[in-house]
Symmetry: C2
Amino acid sequence: MTPRQGEWSLVGEGARQRIRERILPLARIVSALGLSADTLTVAGFVVSFTAALLCVAGLWLPAGLTVVAGALFDLFDGAVARVRGTVSAFGGFLDSTFDRLGEAAIYVGCVAGALGPGAANMAFPSIAGRSGAEVVAVLAAAALAGSQMVSYTRARAQGIGLEAAVGIAPRPERIGLLTVGLVLQPFVGWALGGALAIIVILTLITVGQRVRHVRRLAGSTG
Amino acid sequence: MTPRQGEWSLVGEGARQRIRERILPLARIVSALGLSADTLTVAGFVVSFTAALLCVAGLWLPAGLTVVAGALFDLFDGAVARVRGTVSAFGGFLDSTFDRLGEAAIYVGCVAGALGPGAANMAFPSIAGRSGAEVVAVLAAAALAGSQMVSYTRARAQGIGLEAAVGIAPRPERIGLLTVGLVLQPFVGWALGGALAIIVILTLITVGQRVRHVRRLAGSTG
C-alpha cells in the first residue's frame, strides 16, 4: 500500500489542497505585480529572520505574528511558481532550503531570547540546576534538532527514491505550535517552553515514523 | 564539468579513500564477530548520545574523546556493510539519519552544558547582556542549525537527482573542529566557543556553496 502524502499528519491533505486552491487567485495578483517565486522565497526568509531577531530581543508576541507573516510567504512562492509556469527543481530546492534556514533561525533566536530579556516573565520548571529560562533555551535547541531531523529524513529518503512525507509533525504543524507558544508567552509564563517541549516530542516521534516508513518501503521494493 | 565528491573540502577525497582502504582489514574482523552494519550504526549513535550527556554534565574533555569514539563507529558501519555485502539503500538512510541525530544531540548537550557546570572555566566575550557561557550556548545552537542545513542541502539535492557533496564543512570536518574545541576547553577557556563560532561560519559558507552548486547543475541540465 502506498501511503498518501501527509498521512497521520495533524493537518490532512484535503485541507492542504483546499488552501492551495483558495490562494491561487491571490497568487495570480502577486504574479501580476511582477514578483517571481524565487523572490518570494527569499522575502519569506527575510521575514523569518526578522522574527528570529524579535525572539533575540525577547519580543515574543511580535515575533509570533512575524512567524505567521513568514508562513504566508511560504504558501505563496509555490503557488506563484505554478501560476507563472516557472516550477523548477532548483526553485523547489531553494524554497525548501530557505524555509528550513528561516525555521532554524527562529529556534536559535529563541535560545538567545530565553537567555536575555525574553526570560523576564518566564515561568518554567527549573531542572538540574538550570533556571526555567535556561531549560527553555535547551528545549529550543532540542526543538531545532528535532525539526531539522524531520526535514532531513524526508529529503534523504527522496535521495533513494522513496517518499517519506509522513508523520505527525511536518513543518506547517511545527510552525503552528511554535506560533501559539510565542504569541501566548507574554500572558502565560510557560507557553513557549510548553510549545517547544511538545515540538521536541512530536518531532522525535515523526523521525521514528519516517524511519519505520522508509524501512517498510525499502523492504517492499528490494 | 562534474565536480568530484569532497571538492573544496578540508579533507580531500584522496585521504578519505586511503582511510577507507586502511580500515577494510579491521572491518573484516568486526564483521567476523557477527556485528552487522546496522548494529554498528545504532551503537555509534549510542556512543554519540553518551558524549552529549557528558557535555550536559560539563565534562568537556571526556565528551570530546567520546565524540572521537563515535566517529570511529561511523567509519566502520559502511565498511562492514561492504565487507558483508549488505550495502542497501535503507542501510545508508539509517546510517545518515543516526549520524545526524548523534551530531545534533552533541550540540544540544553543549547548549545544556554551557548553561550548567560546563560554564565553570569558560572565558568567552559577553555579548548584548549575555554572559560568555550564554554566548557559547547560543553559538552551539547556531552550529547545530548550520550543520543540519549543510546535511539537508545535500540530501535535498539528491532528491532532485543532483550531487551536492561540495563545500568546506562536511560532517567529518565539523566533528573534527568540535572535538578540538571540547578536548581543549578544560585548558583554554575560549576553546569550545571558538570552535563553535568557526563551525557556524564554515557551515553557513558551505550552505551557500551548495546552493550555488545546485543552481549551476540544475541550470546546465535544465
